[in-house]
Symmetry: C2
Subunit: 300 residues, 2 copies
């Protein structure tokens, strides 16, 4: 069934202890869509500037990602992010953010996209996320990501958003920032009181936790010996998860659990290359093989 | 089969954001033994002073823990530790350590204990741990715990110990300190090059990872809403794990995986009360019930 993502399209510069890459295709919607497309067709809405390389659009289209909703802003420049990973590859510094066309982005959903059954509001301004929800109708599941910036500066809007979505996905430090609780399980339960029926707490190399009223699922991260670039791992996780759910059409506990596992596996590939390099190399079969290994590592 | 633990017996003072308790029965061997005894009889070797309350010894004996190896040092005082947990209940400060009789402890194993099949060298001086191995014979599995203090100050002795043991169990910050590697999986592989056939990395609220040459097992922590006192959680984890292995007699992948799960479950009870309070309340049946819940949270 149809899966819509609205979020950022970016040109990144990434520094790691071993390497530095410029002009890497990035952004929350980009990573999400490239992970989700292993499981389901994806509709993408985002904005770029005139500097956006034509070939980048083709990368998406080759992956069955519908780019009809990509707006090219005349005279504008694409959102750019420069980040540097510290030795542990988990902590990072943002060296530069140029919002550019993303600054006053007002998403306009093509007619075809408005009835998407599954909607993912990738990381981006909460105001933008709310504007998407004004245009969608009858979605069976709406899930949003957020980050510290919006928790700090758009808290009233975020509280409004939480009333309108089915699930929130965020990392453990953001969970704490939003609720004041450092126990992720307690924090997830608090967030559910704000509206969402479920919360997914992402913990990087420590895995993820799914909490709903009657269910808890726990997933370790798949262990990777050589982490090349963690950028977008959280978006890939969400993409794998939502892509699998959309491919199943219905939602139940077993499907959610498997969806979380697919998210874990796709994210584990994502971090093995710069930007999308590794996701371009692998096939669905590679994902299935690694999922089988993962099962052996965790099933009791 | 027989399980021997050598480690500290302590009287703790524990401060948490909510409470403060004095004269709490603690120590690495204490927590280990009280967790292991749900699965297997335990032989304990440790030292206390004349201030050691008689009733504490009976707590152990009531749990099928053989205290023949407890030495009471005349004129000495028992090891005392005072610690304070920060708001997140994960980080802690040591406010005071009085080594007392533990300072020059030379473990002497009763004849009966020397042929223990399973040996756990609980956290304590590496020199003391080495002295235990001089006295044991024919153990089928020797596992040791360690901590930053010994990694800093007894590194040569620790390197010698690593050549003589089957498994090392330590937390993630210690793993990094020992190897310089922040990726726990990479670090575990490095430690195996020093000697042990397997490494267990404990990650507190983020679970644990078991690594051997051909196996990796990943365990999230069991989610607890109300953490009362995390003291001894790592020792309980090791106790549940080793106790279960000792109860099985043989060692294979499935048994190790289940042992890690039992360790996880016992540790999750441990942190729900001060000191050993919760472990005194529960039965093996409670452990089995929670293990069943845990399975549902993680099995794919």
């Amino acid at each position: 069934m149809s899966l819509l993502v609205v979020g950022s399209l970016a040109i990144d510069t990434i520094e790691t202890p071993q390497d530095r890459r410029e002009n890497v295709l990035g952004g929350s919607a980009t990573h999400f869509a490239h992970a989700a497309c292993f499981f389901s067709p994806v509709q993408l809405v985002g904005v770029v500037g005139e500097d956006w390389p034509e070939e980048y659009t083709r990368f998406f289209e080759n992956r069955n990602i519908d780019m009809t909703g990509m707006e090219v802003q005349k005279g504008g420049k694409t959102f750019r992010w420069t980040g540097k990973y510290l030795e542990n590859m988990d902590d990072r510094e943002t060296l530069e953010t140029q919002l550019n066309v993303l600054g006053d982005f007002v998403p306009k959903l093509p007619e075809m996209f408005r009835r998407a059954q599954f909607v993912f509001l990738a990381n981006g301004s909460t105001k933008t996320q709310l504007k998407v929800l004004e245009q969608t109708q009858g979605a069976s599941m709406v899930v949003a990501d957020t980050m510290n910036l919006w928790i700090h500066h758009e808290r009233p809007e975020l509280m409004e958003l939480l009333k309108q979505i089915d699930g929130l996905i965020l990392n453990d430090s953001e969970t704490k920032l939003l609720t004041g609780e450092s126990n992720a399980y307690v924090a997830a339960k608090k967030i559910m009181e704000f509206g969402p029926k479920f919360v997914v707490v992402k913990k990087g190399a420590n895995g993820a936790m799914f909490v709903s009223e009657y269910e808890i699922y726990l997933l370790p991260a798949f262990p990777i010996l050589n982490v090349i670039d963690p950028t977008g791992a959280g978006d890939s996780f969400a993409g794998g998860m939502m892509g699998y759910i959309a491919s199943q059409g219905e939602v139940n506990g077993e499907i959610i659990k498997r969806a979380l596992a697919y998210g874990t596996i796709v994210a584990s590939f994502q971090i093995e290359g710069f930007g999308l390099d590794k996701l371009y190399e692998i096939t669905r079969e590679d994902i299935e093989k690694r999922l089988e290994q993962f099962r052996k590592m965790i099933n009791l």
